[in-house]
Amino acid sequence: MTTTATQHTIGDRVRVRRAFPPGHFRTPAYVRGRTGVIVTVIGTFPDPEELAYGRDGMPGRTLYRVRFNQTDLWTDYTGSRADTLDIDLYDHWLDQA
């Protein structure tokens, strides 16, 4: 399966796009605009934002697991500064940071 977006590798710092498109997407508000690190390249899958409308989702999108520091996500986070959050995000939501 081919994909057209920039490819990232484990250890890359990436920033989530501040996009708010119409339609279906699963990139939550709390990570948009924030910077994390690629921890896993999960694989390439049909684009769920197209599948949501009954289309075939081609070309495929690469799905990454991205790790954020919790203190980078929430204004008043009171847990350990070492706490992290892992979330799976597709390539078209990520820019090299």
Partner: protein, 118 residues
Amino acid sequence: MTAAESHRAGTFATKSGEPRRHHDVGGLAAGPVDTSTHDLDEWEKRTDALVYLLSARKAIRVDELRRAIESLGPAEYADATYYHRWLHALTRLLLEKGVLTVSGLANELARLNAHDRE
């Protein structure tokens, strides 16, 4: 609400400040989690079976179901139970795909309502 007040209420304010849709609830207060086990109603089991069968036959995809659930309005989304959301979404998708027609669904609902009153 200040950051400290929102934290006491169980809500974490995002640093991103990005807009959220009503179904994007990460960081919002959710109250206590009910961990008690309970059996499902018959209609809930039927709804589950319908989604399973329609997915197995590739008539619907999970991404379509999720998109249809998100199309519920904010108040309706908040009030609906898990399987109410599925049922709303399933109905919408089957209407979109022409498996059901609006008039056919209305006629069947009217028939069932009349049956219930007998």
